[in-house]
């Protein structure tokens, strides 16, 4: 008979078996048994300063490694604080496994201290949840959780473990695979549909490739680039698809959508065949799907059948994993040329002209553009949410690194913790977090996490003293009646950085811009505050 161990020890063994090296979390009484076992392990435990940020850090980590990452919280408020991070990961299909402590089984339902129904609360925006009632199931549950999080259309999964279950003694062995009879994601595309796709593109005069975040989830960047080359397709991207193509790729024409560039949007409205790859046609990407449906033949490749036909009608639906499907297409597809059409798009592509800012301020768009000139080619850029996000998405000339942001949920405060996760996942690359003065104040407490664990992230704060994007909405749609958007009372971010023991530079002109670029090259976390015109526009 095998030796019995505590469930909490088995949980750590599960993580080790899954190759987990780092966990992000915040302890509390109900998760103490598990933390006590982490103490004995070689898994690095990163204390964040708020549970949501633990979730975002795991999000950044998972997106860089392409594998599920782990965050931990205690019961009750610890777990409910995680909800925003879960919804954020769900909206962008990021594989995270959340482990929460729960009150003792016999107390469940009694409104015990720090009791919350977290599996119930998370249900609307999570891929799956487990409330562990019997410790003997722990191995199967962990195996399934990691499998579910990382396979098919990835997403967050939560495992809620009552304290008494964590302390239960069990015979433990970790299963080699997960067998879930009701869960069989399709990865191979239907052969007939694949042929129709090739035929459709062959017959098209103005085909356009639109890439989304699904390309990364499938790790199909290379294959999708090959596809664009073989078919000679012009390419536009959703916000989640930024960095599939390098910014200076000759076929790449930028981000489409409400905050996208004119060139990309014009290409969408003028193309005759739109090939959507791992893009779900969110309302910010294509705001007028019925117009596009009417004028364009639509080919939609996605691993989630529910995304096909949900936001836009597809003429050729093709369910499957992007990488597998694109390889199927490339297998029998001929070379094509669309030089004329690409030339047409190039005609409406104009180089940006940067407006001169007020004295003592810098143009954020120009700053971002110049920043990308000085950064290494492997730099990962994490954009927060708001104007800073659009400026970064539009003007940062991405090369081989990743562009990360909370695209679907639009969660402010995402950048700093996600950058911490991204940096820990890829220590060799530089990692930038670009925030606004609003979003930075939602998570600047994580500077402590970066300092404590020596995580070398560079934080850029675009300071215009307003919640800029909301201010813009109030200006345009509410007659300029500005309310609750002024950030007066904010701290001096340079002194804040110093309070955390790290360096800061304020950028207000050419010279200080150079100082900032110099500081960024030094090792160790830093904060760069960029003084932006109060009323600078998003586009």
């Amino acid at each position: 008979m095998a030796e019995k161990i505590k469930v909490c020890k088995a949980m750590v063994e599960c993580l080790q078996a899954e190759g987990i090296k780092v966990v992000f979390g915040y302890p509390g009484a109900a998760i103490c048994p598990f933390y006590d076992e982490l103490y004995n392990s070689n898994i690095k435990s990163v204390l964040v300063r708020h549970e949501a940020n633990g979730g975002h850090a795991a999000n950044g980590y998972a997106r860089i490694t392409g594998k599920p990452a782990v965050c931990i919280a205690t019961s009750g408020p610890g777990a409910t604080n995680l909800l925003t991070a879960i919804a954020t990961a769900y909206a962008d299909s990021v594989p995270i496994v959340c482990i929460t402590g729960q009150v003792n089984s016999e107390q469940i339902g009694s409104d015990a201290f720090q009791e919350a129904d977290i599996t119930g609360s998370a249900a609307p925006f999570i891929k799956h949840t487990y409330l562990v009632k019997d410790g003997l199931q722990i191995g199967r549950i962990f195996k399934e959780a990691f499998y579910l999080a990382g396979s098919g259309r990835p997403g967050p999964v939560l495992i809620d473990v009552p304290m008494d279950v964590q302390n239960q003694m069990i015979e433990f062995s970790y299963p080699k695979s997960a067998e879930i009879r009701s869960y069989k994601p399709t990865s191979r595309g239907n052969a007939l549909q694949v042929k129709r796709v090739i035929k459709e593109i062959k017959e098209a005069r103005k085909p356009l490739l639109c890439v989304g975040g699904g390309v990364f989830l499938s790790n199909a960047q290379k294959e999708v680039r090959d596809l664009a080359r073989r078919f000679d397709l012009p390419v536009v991207t959703t916000m989640m698809g930024i960095s599939v193509f390098e910014s200076d790729d000759e076929r790449f024409f930028g981000m489409l959508g409400m905050h996208g560039c004119k060139t990309a949007n014009r290409a969408v409205s003028e193309c005759d065949v739109l090939l959507l790859v791992g893009a779900r046609v969110g309302d910010r990407a294509i705001s007028n799907p019925s117009f596009v449906e009417k004028n364009t033949r639509i080919i939609h490749i996605d691993i989630d059948p529910a995304e096909i036909g949900k936001n836009i009608k597809a003429d050729i639906p093709l369910v499957g994993d992007v990488k597998t499907v694109v390889l199927q297409i490339l297998k029998d597809a001929p070379e094509m040329s669309h030089a004329g059409w690409i030339g047409e798009i190039k005609e409406f592509d104009k180089q940006p002209k940067f407006k001169k800012p007020e004295k003592g301020r810098v143009n954020p768009k120009e700053f971002i553009s110049r920043l990308s000139d000085v950064m290494g080619e492997n730099t990962h850029v994490v954009a927060d949410v708001g104007q800073n996000q659009i400026w970064t998405a539009t003007y940062y000339k991405i090369k081989k690194g990743r562009f990360l942001t909370s695209g679907g949920m639009g969660t402010m405060g995402y950048a700093v913790p996600a950058a911490i996760g991204a940096k820990l996942a890829d220590k060799k690359s530089e990692v930038l977090a670009v925030c606004g003065d609003g979003s930075f104040q939602m998570s600047f407490m994580e500077l402590a996490t970066a300092v404590q664990h020596g995580v070398d992230i560079k934080v850029i704060v675009m300071k215009n003293n307003y919640l800029g994007m909301v201010r813009e909405v109030q200006d345009k749609a509410y007659g300029g009646r500005l309310i609750a958007v002024s950030l007066e009372g904010s701290p001096d971010f340079i002194r804040l950085a110093e309070a955390y023991g790290i360096k800061g530079v304020r950028v207000s002109d050419e010279e200080s811009m150079d100082n900032a670029f110099e500081l960024i090259k030094q090792s160790g976390p830093c904060v760069i505050e960029c003084a932006v015109d109060d009323f600078e526009s998003t586009l």
């Binding site: 599996t119 119930g120 249900a123 609307p124 891929k127 799956h128 409330l131 579910l148 879930i180 009879r181 009701s182 869960y183 989630d304 059948p305 529910a306 036909g309 949900k310």
Partner: protein, 168 residues
Amino acid sequence: MNEMKHTISVLVENHAGVLSRISGLFSRRGFNIDSLAVGVTDDPEISRITIIVSGDEHTVEQVEKQLNKLVEVIKVKTLKKGEKLERQLVLIKLSVPLEKRSEILTIADITGASVIDISQTTMTLLLADTYPNVLRFEEITKPYGVLEEVRTGTIAIQKGAETMTFKK
């Protein structure tokens, strides 16, 4: 739009919490449930849920796809008109004085309802029939004074040899 009633049968794992995931999905996605009935199948590990949904074709397609995404959902099928048999069960407690008993027995006889309980002043009737027939039965019994009525959601099965089962 083309608002219609659709009958969707769902095979699910017979686990705690599955029903709340399904009903939660409907409210979150803004789908309208007309009725929902659930019970275990011949396989004790599998439950079958019958849901009646109002909506156009696009809505029903989304309902099917979103249900399929729930991990514990094994199979989803929309049962087509003309290919399905549907029944509801209704219990009606009527206020019945002695002299009216035989009238009620006649109604029960004609409608195919059965009397499942009787007291000095009441009779309780059971009818298992299609939705329109249940409505008619309600109309007919109404004048006798309905003290209480309980109805189940509709359950449905395919006609002929067609089945919806999960083979292990």
